[in-house]
Subunit: 255 residues, 2 copies
Amino acid sequence: MQRVKCTIRYDGTNFYGFQVQPNKRTVQLEVENALQKMHNELIRIIPSGRTDTGVHAVGQVIHFDSPLTIDEKGWKKALTSLLPSDIQIVDVKKVEDSFHARYDVQQKEYRYRIHNFSERDIFRRNYVCYVPELLHIDKMEEACTYLKGTHDFTSFSSAKSTVKGDKIRTLYDVRCLKEGNDIVIRVVGSGFLYNMVRIIAGTLIEIGKGKRLPEDIQPIIEGKDRSLAGKTAPPQGLYLWHVSYNEDFTNIKYK
Amino acid sequence: MQRVKCTIRYDGTNFYGFQVQPNKRTVQLEVENALQKMHNELIRIIPSGRTDTGVHAVGQVIHFDSPLTIDEKGWKKALTSLLPSDIQIVDVKKVEDSFHARYDVQQKEYRYRIHNFSERDIFRRNYVCYVPELLHIDKMEEACTYLKGTHDFTSFSSAKSTVKGDKIRTLYDVRCLKEGNDIVIRVVGSGFLYNMVRIIAGTLIEIGKGKRLPEDIQPIIEGKDRSLAGKTAPPQGLYLWHVSYNEDFTNIKYK
């Protein structure tokens, strides 16, 4: 058996998220269908983590075990030919059996894209969060500095979350970038709670509108209460951008 | 009865083109459904022309007649609230009864967007034509000069076309614009034959690849034979960009 690490990109628009659900089109279902065609048996895949309905991935990472002897280029070609047009194989690497796509995550990067313009762009309605009111990016940037670091992010976690253990996470980098009429929120962290990036984005949007102040972030964090933070921003602006692992496992240099 | 001229934008991805067809989701069906909700009766719409499955519109124009007395802002608001998210109302104007969205067209502008890069962009798979081979835009621009002007465009018209009358059309402007890694073909003309812009785009792509020479356009036009021109480029790169009318009818200044 060979463990295979695979970096995949997907347009989340027409998926009911990543994880298999009865009678729903999911990313896991499509990837496992492609693998089943190659193996004539079910090959389970393990992702770095799930993504929700409508959420996109630029660099999701999965692993699986296969009895087939195919080189890395061959894997990429075979899977590409078997997958639908909204899933793309970015990279395939053969890895040690000890590699695990979820347990070995070192850090993850998410990006949240806001289209901040007076007019809606219907051609990007599934790829951005549309905010017509002018956002003050300087206020949003200031708020980012309060989010950075190690905190208990209970206030930025869905009340529906069933995560066991503490809600302390470390955000290594949180920033807002202007790209034309878009504002991109970039968040890099050790791990993320359920809906955490979307609640951060929703709160930053409210700060950008002037409904809250940048320094409000501090009491929101300290309050450890979901109701203190802003609304959960919609899924279509969210991209799982990059997942980093210890290089020893994978022999890939990350930028 | 009031004649209403309406400029609409749509993402053609999930439509079987513009025109009503049995059991198919079309733009006409959705707009007429919205009008039916307002009128409790069928209100037929007339477009400047049809668009095919997967083809987009930034500025399609339609007209219809209504017994309702609603001001232009009211029309825009009402239709916007009744239409699905992939159709947008850009502008509504009350016009003279003599205005006709198809017969009064003075010129139309189409744009064809090519993503010319080594890597496919899955998030734009429905919005561009992907060409990985490097295109020589200077050759494509040179070819455009042969297309400009008044010609018999039989060679650039679908063999399936059932158009009566001659196939002489005037192209006022044909050019290729570089936008990042995209090449946008802009075509402005008095009128267009079936698939004409997509066959022009397909032929220009072959010239950009070096498979044909810019000066080959001349014998292709003179041959009046569809088989002489290039392949029909795929629909997802095509946008009906703008339709111009005599200002007397509509009191709108076009850029």
